[in-house]
């Protein structure tokens, strides 16, 4: 273990180097460009055995990843925002073909208007594509999660994306505990592949036409893999925790035990929110935080358990549902809490679009609003925090 200073981009590129994938096919895009740029220098310097394919678009990047993974290779790529959107149709194919590909994703707002800064609209756009989604709070977690994701993907035979907030994490230097190369290799183990297109002794067909009489069964099978994935994710995280000392779950609870009021967040905002919770606790408010780390598969049970004794919940979405019932995370958290006995009130707070800064005062405002709602004040179900009204 060695301590280094790395941005999330650098840390994720280092994780890729230590994983040493057989194939990386990628196209650069701000703010994720550095990941493949740094990785390509590792390829040039002979530090990895990777076949690096510089493609002409993200659609081609994911297509090449699928071909390589179907041929039994360990495969990774990286992208952000418009790049992930351009991969969209191929993402569904990677998932349905059950190929264990890992994307290092940097969260950036989808156009228009054109913007290069952080929000979660890009990964929310593909939340039902059949990919595991892990949202990192900091660069350390981004690094650790990429390593875990490779193992998770190959045990669940599902593709996985690890996300880190654009610029806030991707370009901010943080202290990272890096594992030794051998430790990473020993942890991820031998590459596992669901099948191999190049096994000429056992020829197979991949991607045949699948009509009314079989398609539904294959989708049901895919759903089953996702339902079983939480167990795999927890197992891999536990093993990681035991070996390297850093523990991760599907969700993270922060001062929730006796909390009456809770907010739910994902990504780097959790850091700011934890400080805010501490500040408000000092003032005597019974507040807490739930951070969703794994959004797909959706950890409904853990959320239900974590928030079962809370009076009011504010869910902070860094993406708008645009004319939906509320933000996407809000809708799913609220749906999960419908099964709780006490059925806490749940409100939606959309914030931070296009990289709009979120400060402790903004998070305190969310807590104030849900506390006022509990005292009988009527507040809107959907609220926009930090926008000029």
């Amino acid at each position: 273990m060695k301590v280094v200073a790395k941005t999330a981009n650098e840390a994720m590129a280092e994780a890729m180097r230590q994983i040493n994938p057989d194939v990386v096919a990628a196209y650069p895009i701000t703010p994720a460009t550095e990941i493949v740029q740094i990785f390509s220098s590792f390829v040039h310097d002979g530090l990895v055995d990777t076949e690096f394919i510089a493609v002409e678009s993200e659609h081609s990047a994911m297509s090449a990843c699928i071909g390589a993974a179907a041929a039994g290779a360990r495969v990774m790529t990286s992208t952000s925002s418009q790049g992930l959107a351009l991969m969209d149709e191929v993402l569904y194919i990677a998932a349905a073909l059950r190929l264990p590909i890992v994307i290092c994703e940097i969260n950036r707002a989808l156009s228009a208007p054109i913007n290069i800064h952080c929000d979660h609209s890009d990964t929310m756009n593909v939340r039902d594509s059949g990919w595991i989604q892990i949202y990192a709070e900091d660069s350390q977690e981004a690094y650790d999660s990429v390593i875990q994701a490779m193992k998770i993907a190959e045990e669940a035979f599902l593709p996985a994306m690890v996300t880190a907030d654009g610029f806030i994490l991707s370009h901010a230097m943080q202290r990272i505990d890096m594992l030794e190369d051998e430790e990473v290799q020993a942890f991820i183990g031998e590459h596992k592949s669901p099948y191999n297109l190049l096994d000429i002794d056992n020829p197979i067909t991949i991607g045949p036409l699948d009509l009314q009489d079989y398609f539904f069964e294959h989708k049901r099978q895919e759903a089953d893999a996702m339902m079983k994935a939480p167990k795999v994710i927890k197992k891999v995280a536990d093993e990681f925790g035991q070996k390297f000392g850093r523990k991760y779950g599907l969700v993270e609870e922060y001062r929730l035990d006796d909390a009456d009021y809770a907010i739910v967040v994902m990504g780097s905002t959790a850091g700011t929110a934890k400080d805010t919770v501490d500040l408000m606790r000092e003032k005597g408010h019974k507040v807490g935080l739930l951070r969703i780390r794994v959004f797909r598969p959706f950890p409904a049970e853990e959320i239900l358990n974590a928030l079962k004794n809370v009076k009011v919940v504010g869910v902070m979405d860094r993406a708008d549902g645009v004319n939906a019932f509320g933000g996407p995370v809000f809708m799913e958290v609220r749906a999960a809490l419908y099964e709780s006995e006490k059925k806490p009130d749940v409100y939606s707070f959309v914030y931070g679009l296009g990289g709009r800064d979120v400060k402790p005062v903004d998070i305190e405002r969310v807590f104030q609003m849900i506390m006022e709602a509990d005292k009988g004040k009527k507040i809107d179900r959907l609220n926009y925090i930090g926008v000029r009204e």
Binding site: L97, Y195, I204, T205, G207, P208, D213, Y214, Q221
Partner: protein, 92 residues
């Protein structure tokens, strides 16, 4: 009985080669061509025009249809100069 989702191979792959041979595309058909041998002059127009090679020919004679692959498009009936082929609705 077809396989349940628990029995099928992962990722919708097909685990053996050449299985398309077993895929009889004739079951898409809603109408089937029927030959009147009295009217047929064995001109082979139907054989030339059939897009699915589903005209059965033996010793230079038109002998009927390969219903396993005939999709019932009706081109043979349309092209037949003696109206020896009629399209009949498939009943379940």
């Amino acid at each position: 009985m077809k396989e349940t989702w628990k029995e099928l191979p992962i990722g919708a792959i097909i685990k053996e080669p050449g299985t398309s041979k077993r895929f009889e595309t004739g079951d898409w058909r809603t109408e089937r061509p029927v030959l009147d041998p009295e009217k047929c002059i064995h001109c082979m127009f139907c054989w030339i025009y059939c897009p699915d090679s589903s005209i059965k020919v033996e010793d230079g004679k038109m002998e009927g249809f390969l219903y396993e692959y005939c999709k019932g498009c009706g081109i043979c009936a349309e092209m037949c100069p003696t109206k020896a082929i009629t399209m009949v609705r498939e009943e379940v």
